[in-house]
Amino acid sequence: MAAKGPRSIVCIKQVPKAQELQVDPVTHTLKRVGVPSEINPPDRNALEMALQVRDKHGGEVLVVTMGPPVFTQALDEALAMGCDRAFLLTDRLLGGSDTVPTAHALSEVIRKIGGYDLVFCGEETTDSSTGHVGPGIAGHLDHAQITYCSGVEFLGDRVRGKRVVEDGFETWECPLPCVVTVNFLANKPRPPSLTGKIRVKRGGLTTTWSCADVGLAAEKVGLKGSPTIVSKVETVRLPERKTKVFRGHAAEAVSQLLAAMRTDGVIE
């Protein structure tokens, strides 16, 4: 692939807009119908990173998602940002998948597309925030992985990525294909372009597959294929805070504030 540039596959998810998160009181699952949604924010950073690799080295960027047909909205937006083609895995069997079947299903889509050098994912999703699907794909496909990545350099036969870890920055070098999970805010994602939107309008850029199309057995996906279940969900009531208010002359107010904080053991 290196001669004509790398092929990158970006996995994205359509999530409810953060301020719209609502839980169904009966099923304890997230309400997704009739709630405004968007591309999972870190996935935008993954798209941007893949598009920057293409800007520099050529090749192509393919975008993949799994979910209900409405997820074509996210794919259309990714196409309008500049992705070359899109793939939607949609099937009733997929409903209720946890991270094991999700990583498995996306892996099978990636395998069927084939001929790729890099796979990009966002570091985690804003609706489930596990961060397990990216490394899960790498494990499933037996590829190298670079997680929590803030930038990559494509080196032809390898990729170099900078990882942000708790005590600093690590630079990893991995052979291809490699799965890269991209830090939220790692870059400034480009907006959809007008020409991109026109390309999407013309259509024909998105391929839709079912589980059978990618060879996924029914027992490997959905609730059946998920080791975990959510047994119950409790609503968190934030502790009510009794506000102590100080006003008046700054020196006086601050002196009272700090005294109160010391009494409460907040500061020494």
Binding site: G134, F169, P227, S231, L238, R241, R247, A253
Partner: protein, 347 residues
Amino acid sequence: MTATADPSAYKGVWVFLEARRGALRDVSFQLLSVARKIADLRKTELSGVLPGWKVEPLAREAIEHGADRVYLVEDPKLETYTSRPFTKVMAALARKHKPEIILFGASKNGRDLGGRLHAVIETGLAADCVKFEIDEDGNFDAIRPAYGGKSLAHILCKQHRPQMASARRNVFRVPDRQPGRRGEVVREAVAIADADLDAKVVRFEERSGHQEHRLDDARIVVAGGFGMRDPKNFRLLEGLADALGGAVAASRKAVDAGWVPKDYQVGQTGKTVRPELYIAAGISGAVQHLAGMQESAKIVVVNSDPKAPMFEIADYGVVGDLFEVVPEMTRQLKASKARAVPSVAAK
């Protein structure tokens, strides 16, 4: 490790012990306290798994912090964490010894490892948990914040073993060290081939106070909003943060105004922080900002507008001009510190 696994064949609670440059990570110690409780509830043993190189003293430390046993896998190829060899070690040991539960710290490497491992051995993994229980049927109940922190979800993994979860850092306390506590160190060998070393860590730059790390780690955060009026006024917040040993953050409005970089932003489209103390100056308190900081232990709000919504979640509110109040806080804190020093020296 499939859905047909016989759960009763799996016994013991494991903790992945993360060695980093000669020491165990704080989250590994924190895991030992909660894992000890879970092991006691299940009337079983607590084992640590420690892959690394020249890390045997750390195995003893884990035992003194509550582990009954440490599986020690020493190999120069495991000196630095990379995904594939560590996954191989964990998978091999889990297949051999069949633990019932494996806990990871939700550190970057803990999640990197757990995420890969759960796909390889096909079992459940709950992320970033804040509480663990055993339910009446003996299932491991992993409890984690869900849906933007508005709920707590209980995650069960009934048919697959091991039941795995990662624990959020700084939620569980480091257990007291019990010097001389007995336990066994079991050396295990897992063959790491050169082909397993696909990832090479070619460079490491220590943090040197990078903003992203500062905010992640800070026990005290001093944040400014649109009320700061000008980028150079953030110096006032830096002064206060220095006096308290904290980090500076900002609301989206201050970031959008271009006063501070994006990595300072706390809120829905920025970072989520849970410090022990959050001081908000000149931040009106949009719900999007609250979403990123409302789990802070204590909240101080400084605002000239007594009707600012930020006051509603404050433990302490100062109604006043932040340009007077913030420097005054810095001055008084420094003054009290200066007074405190001689008394410490006198001891």
